[in-house]
Symmetry: C2
């Protein structure tokens, strides 16, 4: 047996498959040529494009976008009471003197999108609050003016702040509104503002089923119904200036209706109010530690949505077609990691790949036959204009996603948008051809098996657990926020590391950890659902995590893990972590000034830790704490041992090759497996290694845009490899 000295030749792309291309009318020859050249085995239309009539002749599967809850204004106009609803809160209005105060409900909301639902029982579904005291006002204390959008609080108190939480009718589907306003469709007389309707109402539900049934019959050319998506849009509301005012990709505020709320009350035995959704203006953001009521509502709606989705997928299957869901837009209730998702009967999920973490979010979805990642860039004029540079974006996107794909292979990749724009950039088409070939090779050479991981699991712990697998710290899909990238880097690193990752809720931890879990990770900003906030008021949880470590487990904290000031510490796990956050109450205690020492974890770190936004005022609390990185007198990285276990703390870990390596090392050290680390990592942190179970195949990827020469482990011993910018090599041990 000897190792090949050259990387294996790429497989011929004729093998084809695993690729979905967006096509459109008016470029039939080009479509045929590209399908053949790229080996696409599926085609699709996009929002704004139509499938050409040639689709039936193409030797590919045909996807067609399908909208369930919008796109039929005739129906919507005929059934205004069955429009979807949303709970909204007015602006906070301060009373400057005792006496009546007027509140314009739509002062900060877009009147073209939402309209106060004055037709419902407002004394039941609306609420006015004194936000200074936190108390609800009695219904007699306020009234709605004739304009249907102004509320008067009759006897406001000087210096108090008032809000009105109200049920509103949604008069415009948010995604269509976004496309409409972004693309200037006002000018296009064929465009209408699509009004969403709610399948909770039986008439609408019958209509939706009948419509699908007819549509399926009318579209024999379609193989895959690409639902975009189902019934309830995530929360996306514009402001009075017709720009985005509120966006929560996980928001359930627009999944409400009087019948649903009444059904909830009947089933759960308690009443939900506007405040349960409005949440003082935070609208149950996933950064909030979820309330019981909100978790019940999620469960309630997931059951409802999944059961109705099942009826649609059954209809699709009855016509011999597949049902695919786009992960996004109206996806509320169909969370793929939710308890009820398995019941939907969906064949596939497709989603946009914005990073390694979002790639894993799609690739790891259970209970479907396949997953597809829609890659960036989207073929839209923002990137595909003369002088535009789609290749650079494609490279960036591919390098981010490839790490994740290597660990958990997506089944398919695809693109979206206007093919006519893409073909104007031949260098981009060339690059897509290479990417697709590289993607297929991962599937073919791995023989469908995932690369090896060590024999333990790493669990990310937060308030959401499995439900929000690979979805932590996200506001809107993959969007960058200054307040989140410092923690999101942990997820992004994990998405491509050779470790098995699972997501646990604090309730899961309370219920007991499986023996294969060797390392817990808790990362996030203080007070959020991700660091745990008030969850840590539960001393049993604290004791459980502490004893897990004391008994030999590993804990990695990033940012403000377990922050909840009480009992003499800010971090409830301070005694495990060996550090705490000094919030001013303990300045009288002289702390050991941090002096960094060398350690296994920081062996590949040069130039000090990049901790992103960082976490200020971290102090050493134990003589056993070892500081690994410090700056300006402040701890940034430290380790501490408790009993037989180990803890690692970092002030922040934005994603970078160095930080990913640091996390990789931290995991191994925390798990007590640092001796085995060299079998899993290239010497250079920019390079990652995947060893396959066959014992003789190793994939080496260069995540950077520099050429890198480094030494990598293989089952046959260390090998030196030279990788092009963003390149890869397959190393195999050839038989003698």
């Amino acid at each position: 047996m000897s190792l090949q000295t050259q990387p294996a030749a790429p497989l011929p792309s004729q093998a084809g498959g695993r690729l979905t291309l967006p096509i459109q009318t008016g470029m039939d020859e080009e479509v045929r040529r590209l399908i053949a050249r790229l080996g696409a085995d599926a085609v699709r239309n996009s929002d704004g494009t139509e499938l050409p009539s040639i689709v039936s002749e193409l030797a590919t599967k045909v996807y067609s976008t399908y909208f369930v809850g919008r796109g039929d204004n005739v129906w919507a106009d005929a059934h205004p009471q069955e429009a979807t609803r949303i709970f909204l809160m007015s602006d906070r209005v301060a009373a400057t003197a005792d006496g009546p105060v007027s509140i314009d409900l739509l002062a900060s909301w877009f009147a073209d999108q939402v309209r106060p639902d004055t037709g419902c029982d407002v004394t039941r579904w609306w609420q006015a609050h004194d936000r200074t005291t936190g108390q609800e006002l009695p219904a007699t204390a306020w009234s709605i003016e004739a304009d249907g959008r102004t509320v008067t609080v009759h006897e406001a108190l000087a210096g108090h702040v008032y809000t009105v939480s109200f049920l509103a009718i949604q008069t415009w589907d948010p995604t269509q509104m976004y496309n409409y306003l972004t693309n200037g469709w006002d000018e296009d007389p064929t465009r209408v503002k699509e009004k969403p309707f709610d399948v909770r109402h039986e008439a609408t539900w019958s209509h939706v089923r009948a419509h699908l049934s007819a549509w399926l019959t009318e579209h024999p050319e379609v193989d895959v119904v690409r639902f975009t998506t189902f019934f309830y849009h995530f929360t996306l509301v514009y402001g009075a200036d017709a720009t985005e005012r509120f966006v929560d990709w996980f928001g359930y505020s627009a999944s409400v209706s009087v019948p649903a709320l009444e059904a909830f009350e009947e089933e759960y035995g308690y009443r939900l109010t506007a405040e349960d959704f409005v949440d003082a203006g935070y609208y149950n953001s996933p950064f909030r530690v979820p309330t019981r009521a909100f978790r019940d509502w999620i469960n309630f709606q997931q059951r409802f949505v999944c059961s109705r989705v099942r009826e649609l997928t059954d209809a699709v299957h009855a016509q011999g077609k597949e049902a695919m869901m786009f992960l996004g837009d109206n996806w509320i209730g169909t969370e793929p990691y939710g308890e009820h998702f398995a019941t939907t009967g969906l064949d596939a999920v497709v989603g946009s790949v914005g990073s390694g973490a979002t790639c894993r979010m799609i690739a790891d979805i259970p209970h479907v036959r396949y997953t597809e990642g829609r890659f960036l860039p989207y073929f839209f004029p923002d990137v595909f204009h003369p002088g535009g540079d789609p290749v650079t974006e494609a490279n960036r996107s591919w390098l981010e996603a490839r790490r994740a794909i290597v660990r958990s292979p997506l089944d398919r990749i695809g693109y979206g948008g206007y093919l006519s724009l893409a073909v104007e950039h031949p260098d981009f088409i060339d690059r897509v051809e290479q990417i697709v070939a590289e993607f297929r090779a991962i599937h073919e050479r791995s023989a469908g098996l995932r690369p090896l991981t060590p024999g333990f699991k790493v669990a990310v712990v937060n308030s959401w657990g499995r439900l929000r697998s690979w979805m932590t710290h996200m506001v809107a899909h993959a969007l960058w926020y200054r307040q989140t990238y410092t923690y999101l880097g942990v997820l992004e690193a994990l998405s491509g590391l050779p470790v098995d990752v699972e997501f646990l809720s604090f309730d899961d931890v309370r219920a007991g950890l499986a023996p294969e879990v060797k390392v817990l990770i808790c990362a996030g900003a203080e007070g959020t659902a991700f660091s745990g906030g008030e969850q840590w008021a539960d001393s049993e949880l604290v004791a459980q995590v502490s004893s897990f470590v004391a008994a030999g487990g590993g804990l990695i904290g990033v940012g403000a893990p377990s922050a909840h000031p009480a009992h003499g510490v800010t971090f409830q796990l301070a005694d495990v972590l060996g550090v705490d956050r000094e919030i001013g109450w303990g300045l009288s205690t002289r702390r050991r000034p941090p002096e960094a020492e060398a350690h296994f974890i920081t062996r590949d770190l040069t130039g000090g830790l990049d901790d992103g936004e960082g976490t200020p005022d971290i102090v050493v609390t134990s003589p056993a704490t070892r500081v690994l990185d410090a700056a300006h007198g402040q701890v940034r990285l430290a380790v501490h041992e408790l009993g037989r276990g180990r803890a690692v703390y970092a002030t922040g870990l934005p994603y970078s090759a160095q930080n990913s390596r640091l996390l990789h090392r931290a995991i191994f050290w925390a798990a007590g497996c640092q001796e085995e680390f060299s079998a899993w990592a290239a010497l250079d942190p920019r390079v990652e290694v995947a060893a396959y179970p066959d014992g003789h195949t190793t994939l080496v990827i260069n995540n950077s845009l520099d050429p890198v020469t480094t030494t990598v482990p293989t089952p046959q011993g260390p090998r030196t490899v030279r990788l092009e910018e963003g390149g890869h090599q397959w190393l195999t041990a050839a038989s003698q």
Copy 2:
């Protein structure tokens, strides 16, 4: 009438007075010469020096240091039960498995300084806590080992953390310990470790009085008894490594004794426990919002201490001498802004001047005939060594203090330490001569009147109010902390601004603001007593401040004013300030990106706001908010109007000429008096102006080390002045 074109000539220093010099034995001639040259009218000894025998011949007052509660180890050894006590907490010890856990009480404390008091009723005065649950353990759950310093918790639970709070005997006075260890007195056979004793015990109290009485008789040469200080030292405890472990200049932990605690219970009707002092390890730091129990204890001990001080001052007065208190060391119970200070009968207070704020802390003390500031540098070898540069430190100190002295004249200045060291630096003696002349001129030219201020008051609001006037954000006297300078700058600026300042507690605000209060200032880090923390859970307080502003008042918030996340906002005054701190729960709400605009407040600001450590994630919450400074997409300075009032918010205001000017402008804008501002300020922020009530005297000071030419207001109109580095000018309108 015409203005003089030259500054008034300095008055001859022969006028003399207002100066205290430290003297010592062995340099009689030099002492005589210096007293004459500098015009000193008082002399003193210092810790480590003796008054020479010539003192009686000198035409000066003679101060003598006097220690009440230490310095008599014969007494202390004969009355070990009357030693002072302190409540301490052990380290936090985590149980790594179920079973017994040993806690070494002195693991982190200095055994030469403190010793567990195992002789008291430990079931009453000691406590063991499970700090994971926050629960106290029953006394049967733990026991003290034979070594007197180890406690065993019998049935600890895995993952739980335990502490023991215990009464300890103090076996070494902290200040003497500091001097002893700092100066290496181990080598000096005449030095003993002085044991403190507690006047709460009647035998010790009788002894203390008798000792003073005898001493007064034996020291006819002494005119002023300089008490250093009285009975209870602020909390200063060393660690096992004989270095500082805990310091709180305001700490009452060492003011405890069993008789005092029993007397408290009898009077207040409830029992205090170790936890009431230990406070989970925070020891009631002034950064903690004070508990009811702690405030009661402060009041209780202040009454006791002040009443006993009165007996000592009566004895001093009976001998025709004056009683002076050094503000520091054993000053607990004699806080000069406390309710009972007036009853002490003290003639004077002397304290160390470390800044403008600490200068005002001394100068503003009520109920005494005079105040004295001990200036820096102290004549100690750390500065006064060959090659040392005491002049630079003297200049820095003088420029910091002078601003404050101009606004609220100290009556006297003095120095401390070894005169023999100072005379080795003739340039320093020259500089002292100038400083003293400048100081005396302020008194002489002002005719004893303070400079003018506008007709309204600025109130600094925090949990402590008047009791801690000019003492906010302080850990140990005037020491710099990274976590405090950002807020302390507000106080330092105020100390020299031409405005009337008072300190109000939140209770004072609740009780109603006086009509002359036009601007409230709330500055501090989140959760501290200074920003208010949980105090803001009181909606009446919120409403009161809000209506104060709405009715025309001004509010200035710095850092995290009113931070206490609830009811949809982090800052409970967010609706007044027009900004809030985004702590992650509201990321879904799109905020207006901050765009700074020009404003009256920032007119003298160049290069953007220096906000020190700053406060991250400040967002605009109102369309009416005007952003005045922003960096990296984050608000740093903003203004907002509510009703008829105005609010200003800054992320931080460390002291600088620019920030002091900014605060000065903010005060005038918030008070609605911005039209009058130019009458109060020089064009150049480095220069400040004091106008005297006589209508024709104006003092102009240059706070910087650069020469400055600028225009200043005078009652006779604007004047251009040229000031030397750190210089000053008296401008007078001469009669025609």
